[in-house]
Every structure is written in C-alpha cells, then in structure tokens.
Symmetry: D2
Subunit: 258 residues, 4 copies
C-alpha cells in the first residue's frame, strides 16, 4: 500500500480543479468519463500517486489513493455510514488494538468494520439484514487488504437474540436498541472488556445507561464528537459556514466482576 | 494484552468509588498506599481484570488495565500531551495504517507516538529537547509492547534543519513552526504522502497554509475537533457543565507532482 | 403591538403544514396566492393572531405576527443580515439599554438597527452604500413602530472618514476594517462607552485587537456564539443534523481615560 | 444612566491589572479595601466613568459602571442565575419588546427579570420561595432604574397552581416542571403569544415538548446556545482552553387557535 505507483485493481480518487471527487477502480482498458472529456485508465496505471493528469479536453485531475475516510464518504451505502469523525473516536474510546477480539453489530455499510480491521482487530460482524451485509462485505473487500480480510468474519444474524462468542475484548454496537445487548455482552466479554454503543438519540443513551447501571459494567461514559472545518484563504480565515451538528452519541463502559 | 489476568510488570489503573484514578506498575511485593489504607500488589497480580479489591480499611477499588487514552492522561509529561480526542483524529486524517512509514516531530511526551505505533506505523521521531525525548521514550517503553517498540526509532535533532528520511508515507508535526518543515516534507514524502500539523494558534494555521499553497502539496484542509461529555443520571440528562474548548487545529495536505 | 387582532398594514407570517413561511403585508382586497389556492387578505384582517386559516383548496395555514427574528430571516436583503443569534448577543455584550446613544456602521440590511431600536437605543446609522441604505430604511420602516422610527437617523457616509457625533454611549460596527474606526470611536464615545465590532474573519479580529491595544480602550474581549437546534419527536431526541457553524466574531472593548 | 460621571448610590466595578473585578456601591465616606490598599469612595464619586484610580499603595484600578452582564455575574445569588448568553437569547427568541406583558416564573435571583425589564417588558414574577424572592427583589432594585421598577410586580406563589393574569404576551419559565404550566399558559396568553422555557435537562425538554404537542401551541422549537471566548495576544490567537459547555435548553412555542 505504501508504494507510490498506482496499480491495476486499486481504487483511485480523481479530483478536479473544483475539488470534485470521483472514485474509480483501475482496470486495463478502462475509461474515466467526465463532462470534461475522457481519461483512459491506462494513463493512470503505473504513474506515481499524486500525478496531475489531463482529460481529453484539457481539464486537470489529481490521481490519489483514497484515504480510508475518503473511501467511506464515497463508497456505496446500504445503511447510513459511521462518519470518519466518529469511527476515529470509536477506535480510541473502545481502545482498539492489534489482536483485539471485537464483536461488531450491526455492520451497516461496513465503514466501521474497515476502521476496526485497519486498527488490527479480529472482527466478528453480526448483521441481521442481508442487503446491508452484502454491501458491507463488498465495501470491505474493495478497500481492505488480504491480511485484513483474513481477520473479518460476518454472520447474518440478530445480535439481540444472543452472542455465541466468548472471551471477547470489545463489543461495538451501531444498532437501535443497544440495551438489549448489555447482558449478552457481559457474558461474552472477558473481565475489563469494553462495551461501546453509537446511538443517534439521547433517549437511546438514557435507556442504555439505565441498563448498564443494572449490570456488572462500570465507568460509564457518554460523549459526542464535533468536527468543525476552517476556511483559510488569504485574510479570510474563519470556520466554515455550515457543519455537521450531530451524528451520534458514543457510550462506553467496562466489564467488571459482578 | 488480551488475556484477562493481570500480570507482574503491567501498568494497572486502580479506581475508587469517587472515580479517582491511580496508575501503578505491578511489582512482586509492591504496595499501593492510599488514604483509605494499603493494597498489596500481590493481591492484584493474577486476578482477572475488572476485579473489585478492598483496601486494608475496606475501601473498594476496581483494577483495570489503562486504555491508551487513560495512559496518556495519567503518564508523566515533559511537554504538553496530544489529547486522545486529537490523536484519534490524527490517526484518521493522516490515514495511518499498518506499515506506514511515518516521521513524527516533535514527539513531546510520546502520547502521539504511542497512538501511531499502536496503529501499526513504523515511526521515526525527531525531538530537539533531550528532556522531552527521555520522558517520551520512557512513556512509550512503559505502555507499548515489544513488537511496537521495534517499530520506534528516535533521534535527538531539530527537524527544521532537515530530514534524512525519504519515501515516507506520512509526516506528522506537533511543533511551533510547521511551515519550516513543508519543503523538507515535500522532499521526504513519496507522491500521495500526507502531511499533518497540529497547532494551537490559528495564526500558525494561516502561515502554514500559505507555505502549503506555495508548494507541491494539494487538498489542504484544516479542522478542529470538539468532544463534549454528557452527564446521564436518572432524569438528569445533560451535557457536562464545562468542557475543553480548544487544544489545537489539525491541518492536512497531500503531496502531488510539482 | 400587543393586541391579538391582525390589522391592515401589518406584516403577517402565514405558515403551512410543512412549516414553510410566507411573509405578507395585510392590504384590504389583497390576496395570498399559493400552490394550494388563494387566501383573501380580508379573511385575515380582524382575526385573532394564531388563527388557523384554510386556502381555497383546503390547505391549512397559521396566521402569526413575525417575531423580530422571523422578520430578519424573511426580509429583503441588500447586504448580508446579522443573524438573530448574533444580534441577541450584540444587545447584551454592548449592553444596549433604553436611551443609549448608539452609532451603528455599516447598517447593511437594517437587521441590527431593528434590534437596537427595539432595545430602546437612539441610533445614528452610517452606511456608505446607497443601495444598502435604501433597503435598510425600507426594512426598518416596515417592521418598526413610529416611536422606534423617531429614534432612527441614517446618513449616507463612510465611517472610516470620521464620526461627527460625540458623547456616544455605544459604537457598533459591522464592516470590513473596524480598526479604522478605533480612533474615531475613542473621540466620539464618552468615558466607559462600549465599542463592539462584528467580523467574519479571525484575521480582522487580530488586527482590531492590535489597534485596541494601542488605544485608550480596555477590557477587550472576543467571543463567538453558536446556536444548535434540537429535533424532538417522540423517542427521537437529538441535535439537528446540520447547523450554522459560523457567522462572525464579536469583539468588545470599553473606553477608559488615556 | 448615560452620563459619564459616577454618582453616589451607583454600583461601580473596580477592575485591577489582573482583571479581577470588585463591585461596590458608591457611598459618601465609603472605602474600598483591597490587599493593595484603600481607595476612598470620595475619590471615585464625581469622576468620569473609565477613570484610572490608584490605591493607597499604588495599585491601578479602572472604575466602570457594570454592564447588565457584569452585574448578573457579580450579584448575590439565591438560586442559580440565568447566564447572559442565555438571557440574551431568551429576549430574542421570546421576542420581548417594549410594552410586552410578560409572566416570569420562577424568578430565581432576578437576573432574567433585569433583562426583561431593560427590554421594556411589564413583568409579573411568580416565585414560590421567599428567600429567592427577597434576593431577586434586592438585585433588581440595585441594578434597575425607577422607570423599570415601576414595570416590575412580584408574587410569592407557585405557578403550578395556576395563573391569574390573562391576555399575556409572553410566558417565560425557569423552573423544574414547565409542562405543568402549559395549560395555565394557554389560558393566560393571548393568541400568537409566546411560551418559553429554560431547562437544564433534555428529559425536561422531552416531557415539555410532549405537553406542547398535546396543546393548542404550535411551532415548537428547542435550541441550545454556546459561547466560546477567544484568546488574542500577538501571534497567539486561539479559542480559550475551557468553556461553559452547558447551562440549559431553550424551548419556545406559540399559542394558536385550538
């Protein structure tokens, strides 16, 4: 992944002068069509990442590998994706590390799976909707390497009905009723294991926190993460005019002895 | 790291009923002294993580391994640490991945080094202050595993004077004048490589962005990350009364062909 | 203004079931045309505020007097308006009170003039663009009462070139180079008078603060105000997904003896 | 209030070089004692506002009339005060204007009363705790002028048990269970009247919004207001490190025909 040369089969981001982003998969003989003309994939294959390309009609494009955040924002979605600002926080607050055994449910479009895999976790993903699972698996296969894919296992099943895994290090949830997974998680996690749930509504937080209070979990914490972009152009230095004001709340807790 | 049993040599967090946190390193024969009496380390060694311990005078404590965020907030500091909310965002916006070759300067107290190493990067750290370097190396040695330490190399030197590395994937800066590292970074990074600087003042952002405009870097972006904690206790569900309003701005950019 | 009955000549807000807002001025014989049919003004004149009206085709509308915030968001604009969240803060941080003698420059679309007048100030407005002045005067005339209009005086002139007023209580600025008005304000304000400038860019803040440091003004302060809306519908209780992330910074200072 | 000369009986803010603020009431023969020596009130009486004074031991002080925000932050408190950032927003979102007939309950320490009175409202304040009422009345008497005091009437009573007023323009609530005042407000407000409640917990918001849904009120809206201070000193231009992250939520609604 670290080599500078773009190769067949890789996803590549083409970015025009107006910062519009197009995500393509490099194919021998492929063509990138735009209102500004065509760029044959063969002109991209083998060039150094960061190259400046010209379309048939002379429009300039940059060719760059997508970062994982770029990929998440451009990839096909079954369910709503977990935004990079949140997956970043989830990795840190769930303390994800290489070798961590993680149960993820539901996996939605696979954005969080990608982040967990890259962070070195061995991920078991439960998803109860077959269409979501299919999209998620395709996204993970497209953007993750073979070593990461080896650590990814998914099941079409409903986590509310139970968890088969045991001695897990982490449980990471992005689903409507995380309180229904508290008891399953207490049984499936090892001592000291971390439970994390991502929920859009503060009412979900309240109900989850009540369930956690009534469980062997301790050190409950709920946070929200805001990211504000800045516009920096000469003497115009100011926050962007608009921002994402909310995605979800992150609630974490640690399993202790009963 | 994933085993549930606490072992000699491990850092362990002891947490009392008022959520006060004490970080100790488990030693045979060691003792944890508190106003609420003594807990011998030997009572902690070998127990399952998440255990509930009693001090000599009957005060209860939880014994948990520190998450990396816990460690950063409790570890000795030479320089100001990069807070977990920011190191989380840095890993995502610099797109840190296993095997990435990263130059980090300055390394301060080592908090960001720890995050980069855990994310799988091979880190070369430049630090021009010997006292900071010593603290940082001790922190990294205490909280990282042997496999991570193998990927960590530090140098006592001033990055403003030049960078010897080449074909780097990422440059991550936490120092006062990042604009003085733009040209060095353009030379040391491979095409498509990512430059990221963390700076407290928006004036530093302005000057850095001007230097980046005048360079082969493209896709400049500046963001700030805010984390707001919530208090959830019965019907009292509200944001915490106070929060960290500012640490620093994150500016990223990607190296393209000149 | 406090009577409940809607009268000829008043601006009235008609709001449909999808919360779309239409601002009309009640005229004998007038008609409100919408895709959902017509409502004759005569059916609105004389009804109690808060009435529920039906259009010819049976669509429901609420008839309400616009609040000043409603008026500002719907009124014609020459220049960018000062948003209600900011005019609210300006009244408080500039400590506007009945009888305060205020110089306002530039007056833009008149939104801030309306807020100052309602708060009881005697306002002299300088505006250097004739088109803006015309729009502002029309807006103020439309939404303010006769007692307020008596306290409003405007001049087509450039405040950078000087201020004729003296013994002012407040100077309130919404223009690109407020540092050029610091010396004029020090001469025109009485001791203890308050200077306030609203500026979009933090670079303007920096330059203004430097000018204030070099002046008899003291107690400089700069703040930004953020307003986040919440969506509350059954169990879905969460911040709105998007928000205004920035309008401007408010810098205040008080005139002291040299 | 607009004259520049400080007079007997006025509250005055003395501010030292470290920006510490001392609020005194000017009395003939009075003395202001500080660790830096004494300043006789007679040296302050009759000087121009903004004067620079010296204590007996040579420490410098600025003498300024408190803004209403200054007064609120320094005045004696029975109950928690409504912060200026919130009272500013309340005036705007409740659309307070001269002559508006407002019911305020509970009045706590009187901070919001002061803001409502200054904005020209005729305020009836209900407060069920005698100690709060006493503090509030003393604060209002100290910081408001005679014309404002004429528009202020208070009653020691519990608003949950009913409201005697009718044809009110506004109801403004700062109390634990505002949903218990929805029906009383619907009866006491004129058509188009505005109901506003300030509540710390989002659970209070939820319950209030449910009560409003079940009432003739329409156009419900809930917002929170955040104010972030900036540190501007030479090249160090950044948000303050810490801020108030939460005080309360503002919920507004308008009375319509049933």
């Amino acid at each position: 992944m670290s080599s500078g040369v773009l190769r067949v089969g890789e996803p590549v981001l083409l970015i025009d002068r107006k910062q519009r982003r197009y995500l393509i998969d490099l194919k021998k003989g492929g063509e990138f069509h735009t209102h500004a003309g065509v760029i044959p994939h063969d002109e991209i294959i083998g060039v150094e990442e960061g190259a400046r390309l010209l379309s048939g009609r002379g429009a300039g494009f940059l060719a760059l590998r997508p970062t994982q955040a770029d990929a998440v924002l451009k990839m096909p979605r079954g369910a709503q994706v977990v935004y990079p600002k949140d997956s970043a926080a989830i990795l840190t607050w769930a303390d994800i590390h290489p070798g961590a055994r993680v149960l993820e449910a539901g996996i939605g479009s696979g954005a969080l799976s990608m982040a967990l895999l890259r962070a070195g976790a061995a991920v078991t993903g439960y998803e109860c909707r077959e269409d979501f699972l299919k999209v998620a698996r395709a996204n993970v296969a497209r953007f993750c390497g073979p070593e990461e894919l080896e650590r990814y296992r998914t099941e079409l099943r409903d986590v509310y009905e139970g968890v088969d895994e045991s001695d897990l290090d982490r449980v990471v949830l992005d689903l409507p009723e995380p309180w229904r997974v508290v008891a399953h998680s207490a049984a499936a996690l090892r001592g000291g294991g971390i439970f994390l749930a991502y929920t859009p509504s503060i009412m979900q937080v309240k109900r989850l926190r009540e369930a956690l209070e009534d469980s062997p979990f301790e050190l409950h914490s709920t946070v929200e993460v805001l990211m504000r972009g800045w516009h920096v152009a000469g003497e115009a230095v100011r926050p962007d005019h608009r921002m994402v004001a909310h995605t979800g709340f992150l609630t974490t807790s640690r399993l202790c002895a009963p």
